[in-house]
């Protein structure tokens, strides 16, 4: 009997199946269900009468924090009452523990290796960095998980990415994602699994960027192999026991693809899509921009802020450019303050906002107007994603976005910093 991939093993652990394979339909126990402020919107919510286990629920307000309007304020009030009513301990309201849910789950290591996590946001796959089978589900699905403790999956085949080498100076995990999306396109109904000799050299933040962007590959799950660096990270933050899951040696993959990180160069996705839409930054330098944004669950990490600060240090953003930086959590914001990144960014002219999903989904704090051009290090560049449908959204790494803010046009970071990489 052939072996199983990471996700298949987690499915087997959380179901009554001894073995799980592509094509199966499985009903699995949910280890953690994460609810958001959006879960409590008056137009969407349903009145929950019982929950399966309050300790398997976390509530994180993130899309509209602090409340951006009366509707989000009302949803927050309803959510606070829900938390009190069911005695939910892991609650992240507006305040020092505020943040984007996937980033809060990372900061606190709520996403334990070898477990299964769901949330009603598509970028839930970000927790795949933690060797977690994590997936975005729908709002009704989430209520089912919260009330029954279970959910279902159709088991997809798995593509294995074997990563070797290391990313060069000025090249980031976002560029690796743009390379994957540009080269192989969508991964509909497929899981992606990351491992290989490059792993120890890839920071947890870098892994989170790649896993979060799994949603943009249209993948089912995006999961990393565990290693010492990950296990140490989790143990420092969460005392709960866990059993990391490694793929079986004879795990069945639809395909194994080798990627040498040394060869990755800065890329940019052209507006409206990321699927097979990446070009070398050198091909489009010079496109004028009005807004540059760094943030979201994919690019609001401390690594991302450090990289942006490195590029803009001692420089000023171009006149007419709005440079917005949104740390993914207040904890990241605080760490960036301590490291001096916030001061560097602000001295360059950036507006550093509180942690929120905010501009990434066109919600608040950086919505685009008609005909504007933005270069963004966030999750998505769909038409209309960040505001007006006529706005053009280029997607790139934090370094490229920061360099573009300085230049006032899309720019290669090495051109700004003088580094040759």
């Amino acid at each position: 009997m052939p072996g199983m991939t990471i996700v298949e093993k987690i499915f087997a652990r959380n179901s009554e199946e001894e073995r799980v394979k592509p094509g199966d339909f499985v009903v699995v126990d949910v280890d953690l269900a994460v609810m958001l402020d959006m879960s409590f919107l008056a137009t969407e919510r349903r009145n929950i009468l019982k929950v399966y286990d309050p300790d398997r629920i976390a509530v994180v307000f993130d899309h509209m924090i602090p409340a951006a309007d009366r509707r989000s304020a009302e949803a927050h009030a309803y959510g606070r009452d829900f938390v009190r009513r069911f005695g939910i301990k892991r609650f992240h309201d507006v305040g020092p523990e505020q943040g984007i849910s996937h980033a809060v789950v990372a900061d606190r290591a709520y996403a334990l290796p070898g477990t299964l996590l769901v949330c009603s946001d598509s970028h839930t796959c970000a927790s795949g960095a933690f060797n977690c089978a994590a997936r975005g589900i729908g709002a009704p699905d989430l209520l089912a998980a919260v009330t029954t403790g279970k959910t279902w999956f159709r088991v997809g085949e798995t593509i294995r990415y074997e990563l070797s080498g290391g990313l060069r100076l000025g090249v980031s995990a976002k560029d690796l994602f743009l390379h994957l999306a540009g080269t192989w396109g969508h991964h509909t109904n497929q899981n992606v699994e990351f491992g290989g000799p490059a792993l120890p050299g890839l920071s947890i933040d870098a892994r989170r960027t790649i896993a979060a962007m799994g949603a943009e590959l249209s993948a089912e799950f995006a999961t990393f192999e565990p290693d010492d660096r990950l296990i140490d990270y989790v143990r420092e933050r969460n005392s709960a026991p866990f059993v990391p899951q490694y793929p079986d040696e004879d795990a069945q993959y639809a395909e194994c693809r080798a990627v040498n990180l040394d060869e990755i160069r800065p890329l940019v996705a052209l507006p409206d899509a990321v699927i097979r839409n990446s070009v070398a930054v050198s091909e489009i330098v010079g496109v004028p921009i009005q807004q540059a944004f760094i943030g979201s669950c994919a690019n609001g990490t401390l690594d991302d802020l450090a990289e942006a600060a490195r590029v803009v240090k001692g420089r000023k953003i171009a006149p007419g450019v709005r440079f917005l930086v949104t740390p993914a959590t207040q904890a990241v914001f605080n760490a960036a303050l301590r490291w001096g990144y916030v001061a560097t960014l602000m001295e360059a002219g950036a507006v550093v906002t509180p942690a929120t999903c905010g501009a990434c989904f066109g919600g608040h704090m950086g919505v685009l107007g008609p005909g504007e051009t933005c270069v963004t290090a966030s999750t998505r560049n769909f038409k209309g994603r960040m505001g007006d449908p006529s706005a053009r959204i280029y997607m790139a790494s934090p370094a490229t976005v920061a360099a573009s803010a300085i230049a006032g046009r899309i720019a290669d970071a090495s051109e700004i910093t003088g580094d040759t990489g």
């Binding site: 959006m38 137009t43 989000s72 598509s122 729908g138 009704p140 699905d141 089912a144 109904n189 769909f382």
Partner: protein, 170 residues
């Protein structure tokens, strides 16, 4: 047998095109009016109850937003695509939209032709050309939810949520 006039869309049709971000906080009626407003303005005035959408690869990529509900509310009888994003498929189950993956369907139809869907043997037929295609089978439990109003009625029946449309009391 389900049959309906076909509207065609291409590859990678994303959720934000079906349910634009600014409408996330709006009513279902307002959301329904905004479907494809960025890529095909005016389409919501042309589409009719019982029509069928034929899509390309990776239909519904993107967000967890209830985009499938807007298609259901427009009266779309079925969405048939080359492949469907897993989260969009889940929301089709959640909100009661019949969604089928059917390799070859995009090339087999021109817009305006009539598609016939059989859920007994999971086939899709072009009534105008006679072309017959095999769709991917959907597990019975999921198909039932697609055809019977989605997941909420089930959660209501089980006593997990209050049987009320929206806005539970504080």
């Amino acid at each position: 047998m389900i049959s309906g006039k076909v509207w065609k869309f291409g590859d990678n049709i994303n959720t934000d095109l079906m349910l634009p971000g600014p409408l996330l906080f709006a009513t279902e009626e307002e959301q329904k009016r905004a479907v494809f407003s960025a890529n095909r303005p005016g389409w919501v005035d042309e589409v009719q109850l019982g029509n069928i959408i034929v899509g390309g690869l990776n239909y519904g990529m993107g967000s967890s937003r209830p985009a499938s509900r807007s298609l259901r509310n427009l009266g779309i009888a079925a969405l048939i695509a080359e492949s469907i994003n897993g989260l969009f498929f889940r929301n089709a189950v959640n909100f009661g939209l019949l969604a089928l993956e059917c390799p070859g369907v995009h090339a087999a139809f021109h817009e305006g032709q009539t598609a016939e869907v059989s859920l007994e043997d999971f086939t899709v037929r072009n009534r105008d050309t006679g072309a017959l295609l095999k769709a991917q089978r959907v597990p019975a439990v999921l198909l039932d939810m697609m055809l019977q109003g989605g997941l909420y009625p089930h959660l209501e029946q089980e006593g997990f949520i209050e049987p009320k449309v929206v806005g539970g009391s504080l």
